[in-house]
Amino acid sequence: MPCPTCSTQSPEVALYCYRCGTSLRGSASTRAGSYAVQSSEGVNQFALISTIMPHTNRQTADNYRWAMILSAVLIVAATGLGLLPIAVAAAAFLIPVAYLVYIYDVNMWEDAPLPVVAALFLGTGVLAVLVTLFFFRWVFDEQFNSFAAGGRVGIESLSIPALLIFAVVLPIVAEVAKNVGGVFLASRPQFDDMIDGLTFGIAAGTAYAAFETIVLYSSVFTSGDFRTTDGLASWAVVVVNLMVVKALIYGTATGIAVAAFSGKGEGYDGFTGSYFLAFGLAVAANIGYWLGVRLLAYVPFGQALGLLWGFVILAVLVVRIRVMMQASLLEAAVEDAVRTDGLRSKRATVDDSYCPECENLLLDNSNFCMVCGTSVRSSSHQARRAMNEPTAPAAPTAGGVA
């Protein structure tokens, strides 16, 4: 069966071209309904785990989903009990902790765990602390405190310079800081895949959010009240925001930028126009988020509305990542499928192996599973390593690297 896109001959039973991922049994919209990273989901679907953790499959994605739900329940319970120091610390680091486990789980760090953790979590954390102290404590504390004092007067008290500082300038500076670690790692040869860039960007963004949160809410750790009994409804909104919305907006926005740095093809693209466009989108998302939060603070139920606004921004970013990944994976695969220089993509399979998603066999030189349509580039690094070893079929071991 010839592929209408790249002319590759696929087996008659194939649903997708194993070289370029084109749907062989339906229209182009069929492919749009099947996300290349996780084929059981649509591209325009708000599916969080497969978006921020693209190397998971359906089974392992459930592990993270349940782990985060369970952790979130514990954090909300701590908030309800007024144990704010516990709740805020745990909320700040829920996503980074989950992400660290994920990076370990899929062996993102290959054989260099220390540099990866240092660059993404510690390095970004130090930058986050410095930037946050600079804006909120050292230089512009008066401007931010005017937000606090002005709440009773209404939006008439809104200081435009303060708004520009904390909703425009700060997000720009912060986005630069968030990109440093991810871009550094994405420029390493072993991490030059676009999915690696996305992953590192998300990790750096969530780490930045965590450390920023600790600095900005440090008063809960120094307050005389270990347990708070009033204002818990407000704190519940704040904790959910810190735990989910802020962390993921920071992460997904930075993920988009660093993924653009990696680029869709072999090697990394670097600081191209695409990168700066993606960087601009990341900044715009953060600015839009904080502008909305700041302005909604002056209306009734402003905190809850700010939280909802954050979810809207997050949904846009998630869908944007999925569309970007879908287009990039398919375009890169087509380019690989029609290349005439005889070179093999280092991201395609070598010999036959198994699809980590559906466990059907992957043909030699596959970019996609011809049965489920999942990109082999979204496989874990262990699986990728197995696919790229000419000893087919791979037999993953129970405990780790196949």
Partner: protein, 326 residues
């Protein structure tokens, strides 16, 4: 999960290992797939034909299942994440136990240290809290002549029995008029951050803010009861969290003011972007015509509140002086 392949996947029927020399659009080898597709299974679970189209029988499964491509099992993944979150939460709690807990002392010290004993009529209840009863403007009933603006020589939130509310603001300062003709002076170094029909917010660019709001009450109303009734509006719970306040203490009336009361508070102003700990002084004065004025002076952080009184006390003094003189 998947049914057994009809033939050993390790021995592909027709391995497509070496594609033939390819034309421009490099078609893949035309061979059959490495596995032999099974007859369409009637009840194939999830895997194998994800689009509901022609079912493709999975010929084989990866030994050990797809979980073998990950370093962690389900239990390990969930356990690591939950344990990590719990551990960080515990660290937060330990941090609070170590670094927290001294605010109350500071709060008490700020409001009591160096207190000059007030007049008998304004002495707080013996166990009525830690607030010194006449923080600012515990004025003599007769305001000063106004020739010399006279905030306390050493401005302080601490009461000075001789303290006199300033009748006139300093020369060159503006006056903002809000509802009921209440005037709030804008002293040099201060600016108006926002003004409504009946309220105004001033700031000194040094993290001190004075907020004044006026309204009309029963002239016989006690200032303390006005504070009690207004506290949720002045310090809304959705933003002023972790609120700790002293008891409301009556102060000595002056001029046309028939009732004065005050309290101090500490709170954490909370929103989605940050939390700001602050300390404030709230004074309510009720005039004989029923006009009430509530004025707050706030500063962040709380441990600088006492020192910051040098900046905000003249504003509070002058505002109360003008209010009582009307």
């Amino acid at each position: 999960m998947t049914e057994q392949p009809p033939q050993d996947p390790a021995v592909p029927a027709s391995p497509p290992a070496q594609p033939p020399v390819q034309p421009a659009y490099a078609p893949a080898p035309p061979q059959q797939p490495a596995y032999a597709p099974a007859a369409a299974p009637a009840a194939q679970p999830g895997y194998g034909y994800p689009q509901g189209g022609t079912p493709v029988g999975p010929a084989s499964t990866a030994p050990g299942g797809s979980g073998g491509f990950f370093s962690s099992s389900r239990g390990k993944t969930i356990g690591l994440i939950v344990a990590g979150v719990v551990a960080i939460g515990a660290l937060g709690g330990i941090g609070a136990a170590i670094f927290g807990g001294d605010d109350e002392d500071a709060f008490t010290e700020t409001t009591t240290g160096g207190t000059v004993e007030p007049g008998e009529e304004v002495t707080p209840e013996p166990d009525g809290g830690i607030l010194s009863p006449s923080p600012i403007g515990s004025a003599t009933p007769e305001p000063s002549d106004g020739s010399e603006p006279s905030p306390s020589a050493e401005p302080s939130p601490l009461p000075t029995e001789e303290a006199t509310p300033t009748l006139d603001p300093e020369p060159g300062s503006d006056v903002v008029t809000i509802g009921n003709g209440v005037q709030v002076p804008v002293l040099p170094g201060w600016q108006v951050y926002g003004q409504g029909d009946s309220d105004v917010l001033l700031g000194d660019n040094q993290n001190s803010f004075v907020y004044a709001i006026t309204g009309t009450v029963d002239p016989s109303a006690d200032a303390a009861s006005v504070i009690a009734a207004s506290i949720d509006s002045i310090l809304p719970k959705q933003t002023y969290t972790q609120l700790r306040k002293t008891d409301i203490a009556p102060l000595q009336a002056f001029g046309s003011v028939v009732s004065v009361a005050a309290m101090q508070y500490q709170a954490t102003w909370t929103d989605q972007q940050a939390a700001v700990p602050l300390q404030g002084l709230l004074i309510c004065a009720v005039r004989q015509d029923g006009t009430a004025l509530i004025i707050t002076a706030e500063h962040a952080p709380p441990d600088e509140f006492k020192d910051s009184s040098e900046s905000w006390a003249p504003v509070v003094n002058a505002t109360l002086g003008l209010f009582g003189a009307a």
